[in-house]
Symmetry: C2
Subunit: 350 residues, 2 copies
Amino acid sequence: MDLSERQLQILQAIINDYVENAEPVGSRSIAKKYDLGVSPATIRNEMSDLEEMGYLTHPHTSAGRVPSDKAYRLYVNNLMKKKNLSAREKRLINERLSASRDEFDATIRHAAELLSEITHLASFAMTPATNEEKISFIRLLPVDDRTLILMIVGESGNITNSTLRLKVPYTQDALDLLSKNMTVNYKGRTLDDVLKSHIIEDVGSDIEALAALRGNVMPSFIRTLEDMLNVNLYMEGMTNIFNLPEYSSIDRARDFMELFARKDWFTRKMLERADGVVVTIGDENDAMKDCSLITATYHVDGKLVGKIGVIGPTRMKYGEVTSIMEFLTNNLSESFRLTSGNDDDDSKRK
Amino acid sequence: MDLSERQLQILQAIINDYVENAEPVGSRSIAKKYDLGVSPATIRNEMSDLEEMGYLTHPHTSAGRVPSDKAYRLYVNNLMKKKNLSAREKRLINERLSASRDEFDATIRHAAELLSEITHLASFAMTPATNEEKISFIRLLPVDDRTLILMIVGESGNITNSTLRLKVPYTQDALDLLSKNMTVNYKGRTLDDVLKSHIIEDVGSDIEALAALRGNVMPSFIRTLEDMLNVNLYMEGMTNIFNLPEYSSIDRARDFMELFARKDWFTRKMLERADGVVVTIGDENDAMKDCSLITATYHVDGKLVGKIGVIGPTRMKYGEVTSIMEFLTNNLSESFRLTSGNDDDDSKRK
DNA sequence: ATTAGCACTCTTGTTAAGTGAGTGCTAACA
DNA sequence: TGTTAGCACTCACTTAACAAGAGTGCTAAT
């Protein structure tokens, strides 16, 4: 059962108005503001129909109408118009992102900052998931006679290291041998692959001293790999939501803040989301009802995929926000294209 | 002008009551609850005197009294009694901290979590400032013919690295030479020393190829050193404050949250504070009036000093919180004593 | 020096009335 | 048949008035 042209116009008008003012919108006010050529009474009739179809709600008998999640969904799918960013906004984004271009994590964080500044909402950015990152080499470096550094380097330049303190001293020879041994065994394999498979156990070691050292290093190796898999999450502008009327009650605000105190949970949730620009509205989010979430993905060197996102009330300028995010992620992906690595220092990937 | 014994008793009673109930306390109620052997009228007189001296305030004529910052200061300095932790609390702390004992940053974060769980306040923990950390060695590792990894290792096992992408290819020889060269030059110097002095400029390089490579590497070296100096800040339980009556208004809550959104500012402020257990109350904090702050320091290997802290309203159980923090920091310092490093994997210092 | 008594103050909670925005329905109209 | 004007009705919100309660400050008696 499709909506008539006029119903769509009215619905759009209500959404626009409500997104702007956060107050239930009545028939009179949209008759006045938007020139639809019909009287309030007609609009009332249409609104009544729209309500029956589930696009509008009624806080109470004598209040105006409020768009439902379903209405926003319709809006996002069909009605929404992309907004062209102003030159000023584009310049702002370009400047701010290029300022920290050579520090990977800093750039990601700045993207989140920018996003919350421009949208006045809460935002986040995550470094890429590195499941598919391949191991380039593994190095063991001596510190003192019982301490050594384990270093895993990924093909994209991603590095993770940890300091190990052994129970027994090691020899330089054993260290070098094990370094090479491990590199040969794991080079070119993805982190996921190495962690999930039983490769780790399988590799035999023929030499006695090496086997002992290996036994000591292996648990740390696994832990370091896991650490390497962790994405970094940056959240910005969380306090912006305090300015929104929907969070003017302490309880609402608390609920919101508590959601994001669980960083690990949140990270997992966000990793599950599909690539590209994804909008989920209200009930479509299993937790976080009465929030909307917009996420988008950027690429590093065309392969690794990171996410940025915006969180706010369902009443949100979907058109604007998605446009901004599209521009921003394109910009990021461009920055992180390997060939464009102009300079002498590229990254500091976590 | 000293306070009489009875005035102290009354003041203490008022503080106890107010800390508990967060409501102005009247003469009648303390006459009833605390057996001071005097009538409400007498207490009223004393309260009047205490107010004149600045220890109490009056929200309005017919309300009870509220302790002033000055009163809390007196309380903390003279009246406060240390609380002995219950066996349960001690066990909890021991268990939780030892669970992640071999991962430095995780332990720090858990300490903050614990602190906010036990106190029901907001808390933070910082990794040690590494200004005085000495450089152990510097290593340059090849990735591909234009990419290399710069790695700085501190004497305490602290590692920082960054990935460099050069404009021109390098040779393995030049790399090795520069590694050695830099290690020789900076070994044993503190990070601060290296960064602040002009040592970096001073070191001449006699060989042509080396000089070129060096020129490319140096800016990254400085940036990496700076990165190494950064302390990590973990904040926990920020949402706890929503449960306190003093933050029941959105504005107050927002102000509070915004303070801690500025992590860099906050970190700097906290680093300025003296070592040991430090309590600052209300106005004593330049920003964050009407908050109290308690910080304490823990030691790593007896040298490096990190901080943990609790932030809450001035109405706070000072005795309890300081006791908990004392126990916690002792425990942490004990964990981080080098000799107690029992096992094969010690750290992952940032 | 202490205390009982009492007037006074100020907050909080409740009730009642008034206001205004907005709906829903009906009847008239094109 | 779709549109519109008119009107009664609903409900949240505001304001004022009032009562209750907690607490002080002062005075006079002990």
